[in-house]
């Protein structure tokens, strides 16, 4: 399935509701306060958050005023352009090999699944992939990742539950270096960003991997569940502060959640969305494309 079709499917609900509401709104001729109030309501209810919503609306108002836009299509085009601009402000980082990609996030957002999908994604590009099971905390976490390693047909480095996560990472790095791997994917335990000691553990993992493999390109991806509301901003903020993030993977866009929070984060933290998860299958990971993402919302 093409990117467009997939995301089109994934965002059908979003498109249906937002698109419908918008078409009703823009159907009216007068662009008065009520109109903007309603527009605000629509954007807010897509989890875009107050700040991003107000900003977008301000910009939209400026645009439509200065360019004297009064027709429905014109306003829509202007709105889409603003949203795309926000999403594209930060360029997507290039992944040069060898790369160590550490996948982080709060509990249950889809980190392990994303690692499995990424393993397949990179293998398909004929890259040698190794994955490290650095979630040594949650029950059966490494067993879960092992299944994904099998599915993606890549090797995995793991230890028993309760082992030191940093030591798994250390092992994995040595093995990645010895075997000349192109990509090392590190799955980490879910942790709430307000838990200081767990964030320290994460910093340690990152420190060790950077120290042990300094020729590699080190990247940190934050996995965000599209169902999450404004707390996603706090997550991105604090994880970014702790381990300096390179990009976001937005999961579960196959549900009815609108994923509007991606805009708020792109705006506030200049973090690009790299991939989106649109299902539980190994191929349900697609590269993010701002234009198509925004386009499919209307």
């Amino acid at each position: 399935m093409s990117f467009f079709k997939k995301i089109w499917e994934a965002l059908k609900k979003t498109r249906e509701s937002i698109g419908y509401k918008l078409s009703q709104l823009f159907g009216g001729k007068v662009l008065d306060d009520d109109f903007y109030d309603e527009l605000e309501a629509i954007l807010l209810s897509s989890d875009m958050g107050a700040e991003a919503t107000l900003d977008i609306l301000d910009r939209l108002k400026d645009e439509t005023d200065s360019r004297k836009i009064k027709d429905r299509d014109g306003v829509l085009r202007a709105l889409k352009a603003i949203m795309i601009e926000i999403l594209e402000e930060t360029p997507i980082p290039q992944i040069t090999t060898p790369a160590v990609i550490t996948v982080v996030g709060v509990n249950g957002v889809g980190k392990t699944t994303a690692v499995g999908k990424l393993a397949k994604y990179f293998s398909a590009q004929k890259l040698n992939v190794l994955i490290a099971a650095a979630d040594t905390f949650r029950a059966a976490a490494s067993e879960q990742l092992s299944v994904w390693a099998q599915r993606a047909k890549v090797k995995i480095v793991r230890q028993d539950q309760g082992a030191d996560a940093a030591s798994v990472v250390y092992d994995a790095i040595q093995s990645a270096k010895a075997k000349d791997m192109d990509i090392l994917l590190i799955d980490t335990a879910g942790r709430l960003h307000n838990k200081k000691n767990l964030m320290e553990e994460l910093k340690k993992i990152v420190r060790i991997s950077e120290r042990e493999f300094d020729q590699a390109n080190h990247l940190r991806f934050l996995v965000l569940d599209a169902t999450t509301g404004q707390n996603a901003i706090s997550q991105a903020d604090i994880f970014n502060e702790a381990v300096s993030l390179d990009g976001i993977i937005l999961t579960k866009l196959d549900g009815t959640a609108k994923g509007g929070v991606a805009l708020a984060i792109a705006k506030r933290l200049a973090l690009p969305v790299m991939f989106v998860g649109v299902g539980e299958g190994i191929d349900d990971l697609i590269e993010f494309d701002a234009k198509e993402f925004v386009e499919s919302m209307f």
Binding site: N107, N194, K196, N231, T256, E280
Partner: protein, 438 residues
């Protein structure tokens, strides 16, 4: 401080503006409500729910009473608080167990925290003398069965699995197995699924038909955004859930989903998950959640925790001292001990009303400071502890050298003690009833 910034502080801010003015005009009500609206939205309360809520509060607030009353601000707070409480269900809801075995079915989206919650419920019920079995009906997610087995083990509960096979059959067989092993409660862990996945929703309907659960509990991540209403109403429509469990409340989420979910389903929220360990489960108290949202902190939860950590006697003593305004450094010392038993300072401060206003910096939350403070107090004479006012310069010097600390640190401790005393004074409820922060 990261925790409880947000709605709590916002509302505090709005209301502190009103407090200064005393009387409320209609304009002021509207201003406050506009900000409450934004605050609720930022707290992830669903848009439509917010609209409803604001209308209700407005109707009540614009009545005569409020405009003519001198304590108008208090009345707005009261109305907002009452509305929040009633929206979230009013009173505490318990598990309703019936049948032998009593069957509890968990359901929810992927990653909401069902499996972990199964373990917590089992642990809780075991403590109440029940014989619990967990059944692995999530046959889709890799290693989900293994995870449930481990979780059952740590809860000292039985577990039942039949590998990757038909979940409806597994559930049915689990009942037989539970009966055989004389388990009186059976908890079914099901796979996370999207509410729009017809086939998987049908599977849940079939499990319900086959096992007749007395509780069908929807597990909802407390960080859920606007979509919480869609998810909850879809599950409720198809499965007629009996209650909701809110997970991951130990995060810094504002938890607006609690309001949304309750508003659209009408079903009670029964439990909260507050951590990753097996004992990290609490009943859901609507009034506490409301005051948490409103910035009045979670004083009651704290008291409960304090009761577990501090003996009843200690607590009574402390209450009495507070009432007599004789809270001493010895009491302060006792507090430090309880603090560590209650899971550390930051957790407690997070639950404290308006802790944000006291501008306590991250560095002051450092647990190692507590050790220093303890050492300082332990170097004081009983008189000094009982009456800190007598601790002047020379005594400070002696205490500092006696405890291996500096005079500045002694000063800090005394300042913190004064602040705490002040803070505690503010917690005194009406009618002589004291609400202790620790």
């Amino acid at each position: 401080m990261a925790f409880f910034k947000g709605l709590s502080e916002k509302l505090n801010h709005i209301f502190s503006k009103i407090v200064h003015k005393g009387r409320l005009s209609e304009l002021e009500i509207n201003t406050a409500l506009r900000e409450i609206r934004i605050a609720l939205l930022e707290a992830d309360v669903n848009f439509a729910v917010v609209k409803d809520f604001i209308n209700k509060v407005k109707q009540k607030a614009t009545g005569q009473e409020i405009l003519e009353s001198l304590s108008a601000s208090q009345q707005v707070i009261k109305i907002v608080n009452e509305e929040l409480i009633s929206l979230m269900g009013g009173t505490v809801a318990k598990l309703e167990l019936s049948g032998n075995p009593a069957v509890i079915m968990m359901c929810g989206l992927q990653g909401a925290g069902k499996t972990t919650m199964c373990g917590k419920l089992a642990h809780l019920l075991k403590k109440q003398g029940r014989n619990v079995m967990l059944a692995a009906c999530d046959v889709y997610r890799p290693a989900a069965i293994k995870q449930l087995q481990i979780v059952a083990q740590s809860a000292n509960a039985q577990s039942f699995e039949q590998g990757v096979s038909n979940p409806v059959k597994i559930a049915k067989n689990a009942i037989k197995e539970a009966t055989k092993k004389s388990c009186d409660v059976l908890i079914l862990d099901t796979a996370g699924r999207l509410h729009i996945n017809d086939e998987l929703m049908q599977e849940l309907e079939d499990i319900i038909k086959a096992t007749k659960p007395c509780e069908i509990l929807l597990t909802v991540d407390a960080m859920t955004g606007q979509d919480a209403v869609t998810v909850a109403s879809s599950f409720n429509q198809r499965l007629d859930i009996t209650g909701v469990i809110l997970t991951k409340l130990d995060g810094d989420t504002r938890g607006g989903a609690a309001l949304s979910v309750r508003a659209v389903t009408g079903k009670p929220i029964k439990f909260c998950g507050i951590g990753e360990r097996i004992g990290d489960i609490e009943p859901f108290y609507p009034d506490r959640m409301a005051s948490r949202i409103l910035g009045m902190g979670d004083v009651l939860t704290l008291i409960e925790k304090a009761q577990a950590a501090v003996s009843e006697e200690d607590l009574k003593k402390m209450e009495r001292r507070l009432a007599e305004n004789t809270f001493t450094l010895d009491d302060f010392l006792t507090q430090f001990d309880s603090i560590s038993k209650m899971g550390g300072l930051s957790q407690i401060l997070g639950m404290m009303p308006g802790a944000g206003r006291f501008n306590i910096k991250e560095s002051e939350l450092d647990e190692s400071r507590i050790k220093v403070f303890k050492a300082i107090i332990q170097s004081m004479t009983p008189q000094e502890r009982a009456n800190p006012a007598i601790i002047k310069a020379s005594r400070r010097k002696r205490i500092a050298s006696g405890s291996g600390t500096s005079i500045q640190q002694v000063n800090q401790l005394l300042k913190q003690y004064e602040q705490t005393k002040e803070l505690m004074r503010k917690f005194k409820g009406k009618g002589g009833k004291i609400r202790l922060p620790f």
